[in-house]
């Protein structure tokens, strides 16, 4: 994706009207190589211990997140806390079915998160469309549009399942295999093509910095 001199080719952003292209950054996403092994292990350990969830509830899964804040399940023990903006959060929990309209917002929020970022998808709707398998406006497989790290099955998994899912996510991060951001950057065209095929009124830049 980069031209001869190694400088990334700016994105076309056709979705935007001509006058507004100057208002958005048109740089494409890049892969960020992990640091040296020892440092990266330590950082991965820190990342796993401080998972900040983006407060973006889609579908029926979001309600499962709320109990985690209560005394009974208490996700704070594991260093997990909710954050209001994608800029400051590292985990994106997709709680259930995602309509096309929601997908547009999911993509925008996912792209505005800072790497390394992880996605946890709840429920069967994110895996194969679930009970909306034949609906015209839901997303059947979420990972065709954004890279997913952990799926938590169940038609809405209980909070305990969520905690188990997060433990699994911690393990993956510590193992250094949660490189969703680089994977998204590598197959950017593919992901973007899938997204554009579904989202009709794009009216936003190709990559939302």
């Amino acid at each position: 994706m980069s031209d001869k001199k190694g400088k990334p080719v700016p994105l076309a952003n056709e979705g935007l009207p001509a006058g507004e292209r100057g208002l958005f950054c048109d740089a494409p996403p890049r892969e960020y190589a992990p640091a040296a092994k020892i440092v990266e292990d330590f950082w991965n350990w820190a990342r796993s211990q401080s998972l900040w969830i983006l407060g973006f509830g889609t579908g029926c899964g979001a309600i499962e997140l709320r109990p985690l804040m209560t005394s009974r399940y208490d996700m704070y023990r594991f260093g997990i806390q909710p954050r209001p903006t994608p800029r400051q959060s590292s985990v994106f929990v997709i709680g259930g079915y995602a309509s096309v309209k929601t997908l547009k917002r999911i993509v925008r929020s996912y792209e505005q998160m800072m790497g390394p970022k992880f996605v946890v998808a709840l429920g069967s709707c994110t895996i194969n469309g679930g009970m909306y398998w034949d609906s015209y406006n839901t997303i059947k497989r979420i990972d065709q549009y954004i890279p997913v790290d952990v799926y938590i099955a169940g038609c809405m998994p209980r909070p305990e399942a969520l905690l188990a899912g997060f433990q699994e996510l911690k393990r993956i991060i510590r193992a250094g295999k949660a490189e969703g951001q680089n994977e998204y950057a590598r197959n950017f065209e593919w992901y973007k093509a899938n997204q554009k095929r579904v989202i009709k009124d794009w009216n936003m830049p190709d990559y939302n910095w």
Binding site: G19, E20, G22, L23, F24, C25, A27, R30, Y32, F56, T85, P86, R87, R105, R108, S109, Q112, N203, M204, P205, N208, W209
Partner: protein
């Protein structure tokens, strides 16, 4: 000495032969008429030359006989001056009358000739009955003149004029015959010498003479007929009426003064003052210029009569005779020329029924004439008014002083309102070209300026340095066509030259202020080069104002000080008037400026005379209040925001950073001349402290809610002045050091702010903050300068602003003013609000697409800002650079409160080491910067719309830039503090005065008979009063 009788023969011969000459051609007849007037002028000037070079007055008998038997004419200094004035006004008016004289029947030219000859006769004759004959000749001439060009309104007012004239002449006749009956002579000098007129019958006889003359002089209740004539007649004739005939009648009154007893004199004085006050009050309510000028001339004539009477009555001034000549003469000359010019000008404009802006030349003339009329320097009216006020103060006639000053302030209000209208003109009207008709007013203006300058230089203000502002203004006005940069350099050179010339004459204290005042002027003259083009009128006024500030420093005697002070007020008023929306603010600026100046004048006049402005006791309080009005303390600050906001960007910068220091300097000078104390004892300093504090808090609170940048900065400087006043009020070494430190600091960062804002406004074209945004990328230097300025202004530590705050709080706590400290702290926190708002809504936030191609401010603005930034940084790092000279200045007047140990300044309470603070802050900042850069991984700079907008994309930059009503919650909480109480008070005051004018106005019902009734009632009341006094 030319014998006046030849002149009378010449005039009468010409008059009688005019019908024959007219047959040869009207043009030749008019040349003859103007020739005769010119002959009178030449004769008058020759008499003046002879008398001024030491000749004595000469008497000329008629029919070969001496005084008692025949009629005698006398040519003294007063008479020579009178004849010259009459002839001059006649000539000026004749030019404007020529065209209509040519069309009208010959009667008009005849009447003009007769009127002028009659007036000259009134001035010259010493015989009472002959005076009556000449009164009638001039009256008949005036009746003829009023109706000569067949204007229907003029005919109406002519008839009214005649009724009153007939009554006056009958009174006079009765008076004359009984004076003859009792004093057995018709000659003035013999009648005055004898004692026959002192009995009851004699007093009554003289009363009739006086009553007739007073009615002719158009006293208050009985002058309806006169004002109608002024309004409706041809402007040339109004000029003759208000100029020439007023002069003649006043000289006639002057002549019969010896006959008058004390009762008569007090009648004249009372009636004159009442006319002055009422004339101005009603004048303020007029919207038709000619009628307004009519009321103004009636008022001025009343004042001159009153002064003459008072001079003779109470021995006002040192000797009565020459004092009256100087003051009454000065006021009369001023009134004469100014009124003639204004009538001709206003009349020409009314005739064309033009409503646009005046052409530059006639506008300049109108400006000079109205300034002279009001008594601004350097015109003769100024010197006369100063001596008058001083004499009144000496003899303790305070209520008369109040009337005189109040009346002149009212007059200033409506004259400058008219000038403002003419300077701006209604929207969309083409500029008014007067062509040749503006020759008369321009000539009158030049004469006024020359007379004033001559009177000033030969009289009380010989020091040429004080005349530098006017010289600079004149020269630069002449060069107004040349390109802007040349004039800018000239004015900077002038300021530098003035500084060099005056430097050694100034003591350390004045040198400190000279740096700010002259430096500020030069700085903003350079800044004025930001725009190309000649920028007509800006440089002369800016240079004049700068040098006037310098003159204030150089002045030694109270009069010199006041002269420079009023020059500064006038020059800065014109600067404000020059601004685009400057008409209304300029009016309030000049009215408050003059109000303050008059208080100052009264205080100076009443105070002692040894050098500077020594004024202890309550005159000192007057001076203090006058200075506070000029500084813009809360309550009298209403003029400040409008003037700073509406004037050009450079001039508002100059007004706010340099000119606002003049009242501060004057306060210091006042305190120094009283031995480092305030007049009125300790409670004054506490009250001044609270007033300063209120101004600081008020200024800050008002500034928070403004949408217009320049209004925000205006209120901000109001606030900073409040701090300086608070510190000054502490009246100890700490307080004064703080005050001077704050003043210099305020000069630095306020100049930076105004320069930057000027650049921003020039580039974006708007003054509203919410219409800007994100200019940091396009105007980085301006951003940096504004950033440093707001850090300094809000007192955030590393920069020198904190030094000011530290000094202030150490002073206040040291002084025991604890509550003031808390409120000062709150005010400075509030200041932080509007400063942040200023930099946020202009430079940060969302840039607007329409301002995409904005470039950095012009070099003329950026360069001074860089210099100021360097100075500010230097002073912040090494506070001793600024504090050592100030501590030396304040020196030994008070017990030492601050002392320097190396770089640390120690006070009784605590210490502050500017250099160490800067080092520590810098070090810590560097540490954090390194830490940030080290951890910065793959930063991606993004554009303005790459923000987290609740998973949506922002729509338009205008709607995403949060700037409009930035502190709305603050308004909900503390909005009640900033309801415009001061403005409402002054508006109520204005309408109150206007309603009094309105009530008095009802007297002039327009019915000629009512006016006659007023005349007779006036005479009857005067007679009753005579009985009482």
């Amino acid at each position: 000495m030319v014998n006046p009788l030849w002149l009378f023969a010449l005039s009468l011969g010409a008059a009688f032969l005019l019908p024959l000459v007219d047959r040869l051609g009207r043009r030749i007849a008019l040349v003859l008429v103007h020739g005769v007037t010119a002959a009178w002028l030449a004769a008058g000037l020759s008499w003046l030359a002879v008398l001024l070079s030491g000749g004595e007055a000469a008497e000329f008998g008629t029919a070969g006989f001496r005084a008692p038997l025949a009629i005698v004419l006398r040519v003294g200094l007063a008479e020579a001056a009178g004849v010259t004035a009459i002839a001059l006004t006649g000539l000026l008016a004749a030019f404007s009358l020529t065209r209509s004289l040519r069309e009208a029947p010959l009667g008009g030219a005849m009447a003009l000739l007769m009127a002028l000859m009659g007036l000259s006769g009134i001035v010259l004759t010493r015989d009472l009955f002959n005076l009556f004959v000449f009164l009638e000749i001039s009256a008949i001439g005036t009746y003829g003149l009023l109706g000569f060009d067949d204007r229907k309104p003029a005919l109406r007012s002519a008839f009214k004029y005649m009724i009153a004239g007939g009554l006056a002449s009958s009174l006079y006749l009765i008076g004359v015959i009984y004076v003859y009956r009792l004093a057995d002579t018709l000659n003035l000098d013999i009648a005055a010498a004898g004692t026959a007129l002192s009995g009851p019958a004699g007093t009554a006889a003289v009363f009739f003479l006086l009553a007739a003359l007073l009615v002719e002089l158009k006293p208050f209740p009985a002058n309806g007929w006169a004002v109608d004539a002024y309004e409706t007649a041809h402007p040339g004739i109004s000029a003759i009426l208000s100029g020439a005939s007023a002069t003649a009648l006043l000289l006639a009154l002057w002549k019969i003064l010896p006959l008058l007893g004390p009762a008569h004199l007090s009648l004249v004085a009372g009636s004159g003052l009442a006319t002055f006050a009422a004339g101005n009050l009603v004048g303020a309510r007029q919207d038709r210029p000619l009628r307004m000028l009519g009321y103004s001339s009636v008022a001025q004539v009343g004042l001159v009569a009153a002064v003459a009477a008072l001079a003779r009555l109470g021995g006002l001034g040192d000797g009565g005779a020459d004092f009256a000549a100087a003051v009454a003469g000065g006021l009369l000359l001023n009134h004469l020329l100014a009124k003639t010019g204004l009538f001709l000008l206003a009349g020409a404009v009314e005739d064309d029924d033009a409503r646009g802006r005046l052409a530059p030349l006639s506008l300049a003339a109108a400006g000079v004439l109205s300034a002279a009329l009001v008594g601004l320097p350097p015109f003769p009216g100024f010197w006369a008014k100063w001596r008058l006020v001083r004499a009144l103060a000496d003899s303790g006639l305070w209520w008369i002083l109040a009337i005189v000053l109040g009346g002149s302030l009212l007059e200033a209000f409506y004259v400058f309102r008219w000038l403002g209208l003419r300077a701006k003109g209604e929207a969309g009207e083409a500029p008014v070209r007067l062509g040749i008709r503006s020759a008369g007013p321009v000539l009158a203006a030049l004469l006024l300026a020359a007379a004033g300058a001559l009177a000033g230089i030969r009289g009380p203000v010989p020091d040429l340095l004080l005349w530098a502002p006017w010289a600079a203004a004149a020269i630069l006005f002449l060069l107004d066509g040349t390109p802007g940069w040349l004039k800018g350099l000239l004015s900077v050179a002038a300021a530098a030259a003035f500084g060099a010339a005056a430097w050694d004459r100034l003591d350390g204290f004045r040198q400190f202020f000279a740096v700010m005042l002259l430096g500020g002027g030069a700085l903003f003259s350079i800044a004025a080069l930001r725009k190309g083009g000649p920028r007509r009128g800006l440089h002369p006024l800016l240079a004049a104002a700068t040098l006037a500030l310098g003159a204030i420093l150089v002045a030694r005697t109270p009069l010199e000080f006041f002269f420079a002070w009023e020059t500064m007020t006038a020059a800065s008023w014109l600067l404000v008037l020059r601004g685009r929306g400057g008409e209304k603010p300029a009016l309030s600026y000049i009215v408050f400026g003059l109000g303050g100046a008059f208080l100052l004048m009264a205080g100076l006049a009443a105070g002692g005379w040894d050098g500077g402005i020594a004024a202890a006791g309550w005159p000192g309080l007057l001076v203090l209040v006058g200075l506070l009005v000029k500084a813009g303390a809360l309550g009298v600050h209403v003029w400040l925001p409008g003037s700073y906001a509406e004037s050009d960007d450079e001039s508002s910068g100059f007004l706010s950073s340099a000119l606002s220091k003049a009242p501060i300097f004057a306060l210091f000078a006042l305190a120094l001349s009283l031995g480092a104390a305030l007049p009125g004892g300790p409670w004054t300093s506490r009250a001044l402290g609270w007033l300063g504090l209120a101004t600081a808090l008020g200024g800050a609170l008002y500034a928070v809610y403004q949408e217009d940048i320049k209004r925000t900065l205006a209120y901000s400087s109001l606030g900073q002045i409040g701090y300086i006043l608070l510190a000054f009020a502490a009246m100890d070494q700490a307080g004064w050091t703080t005050s001077l430190y704050l003043a210099l600091n305020h000069f630095l960062y306020k100049s930076m702010l105004f320069l930057a804002v000027a650049g921003v406004i020039q580039r974006t074209g708007t003054r509203n903050m919410y219409e800007m945004g994100g200019l940091i990328k396009k105007m980085p230097v301006s951003f940096l300068s504004v950033l440093m300025a707001i850090i300094a202004l809000s007192g955030v530590p590393p920069l020198s602003g904190f030094g000011g705050k530290w000094l202030l709080y150490s002073t206040l706590i040291g002084k025991g003013w604890y509550l003031e400290t808390a409120v000062a702290f709150f005010a400075s926190a509030v200041a932080f609000l509007y400063l942040y708002r200023l930099i946020h809504s202009i430079f940060l936030g969302q840039p607007k697409p329409s301002q995409a191609n904005v470039r950095e401010a012009p070099v003329a603005l950026v360069l001074p800002q860089l210099v100021l930034m360097a100075v500010l940084m230097a002073v912040s790092v090494f506070p001793r650079l600024m504090l050592d000279p100030i501590l030396a200045l304040v020196g030994d007047r008070f017990p030492a409160a601050f002392v320097f140990e190396g770089t640390r300044l120690r006070s009784a309470l605590g210490y502050w080491d500017g250099t160490l603070t800067m080092i520590v802050t810098g070090g810590v900042f560097a540490l954090c910067l390194v830490w940030m850069l080290a951890n910065l991984h793959n930063p991606q700079s993004v554009k303005q719309f790459n923000i987290v907008f609740a998973a949506e994309r922002p729509l338009r930059p205008e709607t995403t830039h949060y700037a409009w009503r930035f502190f709305e919650p603050y308004r909900k909480a503390l909005g009640f503090l900033t309801r415009e109480r001061a403005e409402r008070f002054w508006d109520a005051f204005g309408t109150g005065a206007a309603s009094v004018g309105g009530a008095l106005r009802r007297l002039y019902t327009g019915n000629g008979q009512t006016y006659a009734l007023h005349v007779v009632l006036y005479v009857a009341v005067l007679y009753l009063l005579l009985g009482v006094l």
